[in-house]
Amino acid sequence: MDLGPFEADNSVSCRLSSQIPDICRTEDCCLGVDEAGRGPVLGPMVYGICFCPVSKKQELKDLKVADSKTLSEEERENLFQNLDEAKSYVGWALHILSPNTISTSMLQRTKYNLNALSHDTAIGLIQFALDSGVQLKEIFVDTVGPAEKYEDKLSQRFPGIEVTVRPKADSLFPVVSAASICAKVARDRVVKGWKFAEDLGEVDADYGSGYPNDPKTKAWLLKYLDPVFGYPQFVRFSWSTAQTLLDSKAVTVHWDDDEEDGEKAAKRMNNKSMLSFFSASAASNDQSRQTHRFFTDRRLKGLSNL
């Protein structure tokens, strides 16, 4: 697994994949989808797919892949080795969602929630397998949200493929376990060797699990809080853990799409429409003549004080 392409710019998302086994292009295949690192406030979320011919399901099972969460980091690394050795019939692909992508997507003007982001990423990976010529017949997906809706969505998106969305799919279907191992191994490696794009000198790498309830993570978040910038891009700003710390310990920042009470928002909207329709001067109050729209269009106003 070469993480180089992601590490070259870890502020954006990145897709990595194994070679596509030839057999997957000619035989009917099954594909598993799983994710790693959904909960943590630190680091990327990794989506993984793993696929192999339906005829090789038993061989995959014999590789003893299991739910990645029940395994130690070392065990996962070993299992990933096993998968790599089976590359003649097992393929995988990963989509690393950088923490910066997660933050900026979730905090966009038109908010992009994590479920939608997850679904779109999974769909993107399945499409990638199809585009690579993998003869997909069965898809198994692990889910955290309501399974039925997601299953319908995927079935519609990929007609002719049998879709099974199931909670705990990673312990039920070896191909999902395999996907889970790929994703988890990638996330572990990325987090462990995180290259801070910020110029912060030596950064304490003892950030714990990255889960908000881990005291080590909490201590790290307190230590690396900058009053103006908040955090390096390693932190998911869209997590309430980060937001709460920033609200209490960092400088307040106001955006034009901040939530505000209805009355205030309405007033602001009013002002805006007044500006655009009548070019009314929002400027100094001692003038009753309207400012020319050349100036209002350019948000230019005279000053009476420096």
Partner: protein
Amino acid sequence: MTTKKKRTPNTESSGWVVIAPDSVTDTNKHGSDPAFLRLRNPSTDGASLYLLGSGDERLYEVKAFEEDFHSWFVGETGQRDGRLVFVTPMDPLFLILPYLMKSGREEKFQPVDQVVKDEQFPACSRLLSCTCSLLHITEEKEVGGLKFHRYSQEKTMNWLKRKVERTAAALKKKNVSVGEGVKSTTYIRVKSESEDREEDYLRYAHGLISEYISEELSKALLNHLGLPELTSPKEAEPPAKKRKLSDKPVEAGEDYTKFNSSDFARKPPKKMTAAQKTLAKVDKSGMKPMSSFFSPKSK
């Protein structure tokens, strides 16, 4: 995700991010520093900020690009005030004009430093050090090496017209969108499209020039340009309170001419120089018209 945050007032002054012509910071030529000061805005009649530089030879206007929710990073600092201040050269005649117009009602030639006076804006006399030609807006007479001026509406209109035309050309060159949002309802379109565009540019330019003159003058200028007034829904609304030049006469704190004696009658002078006191004692009952008017200043 965003929580409700109250905006605290920005009380501390941090700094100003300014874009200014290089002439402002040209340190070689002049000993004195440029100064930001308040002068009477000819359009609003209120106080506006200007900058005088190059030893008061040049006047600049000060405007700010200001939008809500902006801040600066300047080098390794943050600055909360996100305004971008533009300092641009300004024609001093725009600021001098209202004073001359007001005194022009007396239809007399006067020394300009007698006219450009303002109790509220004492710095206005510094405008007279600016490089500009009063001949664009006044007629001039010279007697005994001294110059006297009288406001000329005709010259002013021609001067303003040239400014409108030059501005219209600049708008066209810059490709500024000047299309009228509101079209005339009474005005029948007989002109071709291109002529129409031409008129749009002129109207737009007239609007820009009107930012620097009184409402009355703006209307007169529209007339002079041969542009009919547009009726728009905007104007159908109750008219905005008419803004006039200050009702108060320009106060002559230092009155060497005897012709503003009516001012003396209305209010006592603020403070008299020795010369004024001497003049005040002079019997004004037999005032002679023009001749005395051209008498040189007593020094």
